[in-house]
Amino acid sequence: MALQQNKSALNDEKLVRSAQRGDMDAFEELVARHRDKIYARAFSMMRSEDEALDVSQEAWVKGWQRLKQFQGESSFVTWMTRIVINLCLDQLRKQKRQKAESIEQLAEDSGGVERQMPVVTTNPTEGLERRELRARIDRALNQLSYEHRTVLILHEFEELEYKEIAKRMQCSIGTVMSRLFYARRRMANLLAGFKRDELSP
């Protein structure tokens, strides 16, 4: 207990340096500090509690294995987030290979549905408390295809550029642009739909 209190007083940088020398207690403190964020990122992509738990724990194990490669160019939690995102993408690609492509899926990727959607002119999130806004965003993410959800997460939450997203998703920049466009359009319409539901008697 005293050891844990001692570690919790250290910043990430010092804990990482200790962990790089093999101090597993320091690594445990890093896990305790950032596990929610890593798990939340895994869940936002996988949409399954069990899968998010497995992938996030696997990410920590990989993090430990590659810890010596971490040079501090980004924050430790950003570095760990990249690891969990890559694991989620691998997992999602495997799952997608197992599923047959449906006509709806192909139409969604090329904007078959989103092109017909009306442009949302009134802000559907205006006046919402942050907690409620986050809950609605989560609900909307749940209704997107994994390609649209992933591209939105990588661009809007992880703030990656098109080129970096293309590399991670193993597709062209043009595909990233079209997926992002249709994902945003769909997100706007979903949020508008939630607002309408709220207002309807």
Binding site: E28, Q57, G111, V120, T121, D138, E156, F157, R184
Partner: protein, 176 residues
């Protein structure tokens, strides 16, 4: 609006266009109300998402969550060598050459045995003929089956020894 224009508009809002292309899109937006409406929706969505990543907590206790990770990490670390077996590890590097030598020895014995069976019953029989290359040297050989002994002695021609009477054992003497 064409699909290419929509994507270019989005790239403009995301700051992914070159200065020249960005100026072109800005001019187009100033003239086209449809482009401005679409740009407003895209901006709104971008603003709604920014910093509003859904927050979640791990649905397990700290200890339970960590124990799974720790077990996985420990299974990656190679086990420490057992100090009681240290001598075996030290000798391990000699085992390969020693086993090779043993194999060669076994093969040699096997071949010797095999040649004994195919030629004569006793492989030593092949060695009982001794040839002297000099007229000044006399050589004697002695073989005992029961003792499994084979002896050759060489002496000058003028020191020829008395022939020893043969016994039951000394039944295979050759004098040249």
């Amino acid at each position: 609006m064409k699909a290419e224009q929509e994507l270019e508009l989005q790239a403009y809002l995301d700051g992914e266009l070159s200065e020249r292309a960005a100026r072109r899109v800005a001019d187009w937006m100033a003239k086209d109300p449809e482009a401005r409406t679409l740009a407003a929706e895209l901006r709104m969505t971008k603003a709604a998402l920014a910093g509003n990543d859904p927050e979640l907590a791990v649905p397990e206790t700290r200890d339970f969550y960590w124990s799974t990770i720790r077990r996985a990490i420990e299974s990656l670390v190679p086990a420490e060598p057992n100090p009681d077996l240290g001598w075996l590890l030290a000798w391990r590097r000699y085992l390969v050459p020693l086993s090779s030598l043993a194999l060669v020895a076994i093969l040699a014995v096997g071949i010797a045995r095999f040649s004994g069976i195919t030629g004569s019953r006793d492989p030593w029989m092949n060695l009982t003929e001794v040839e002297s290359l000099s007229d000044h040297i006399t050589s004697h050989s002695f073989r005992s089956r029961s003792e499994n002994v084979f002896v050759v002695w060489i002496s000058p021609q003028d020191q020829v020894q008395e022939e020893t009477p043969a016994t039951e054992e000394e039944d295979d003497i050759v004098i040249q």
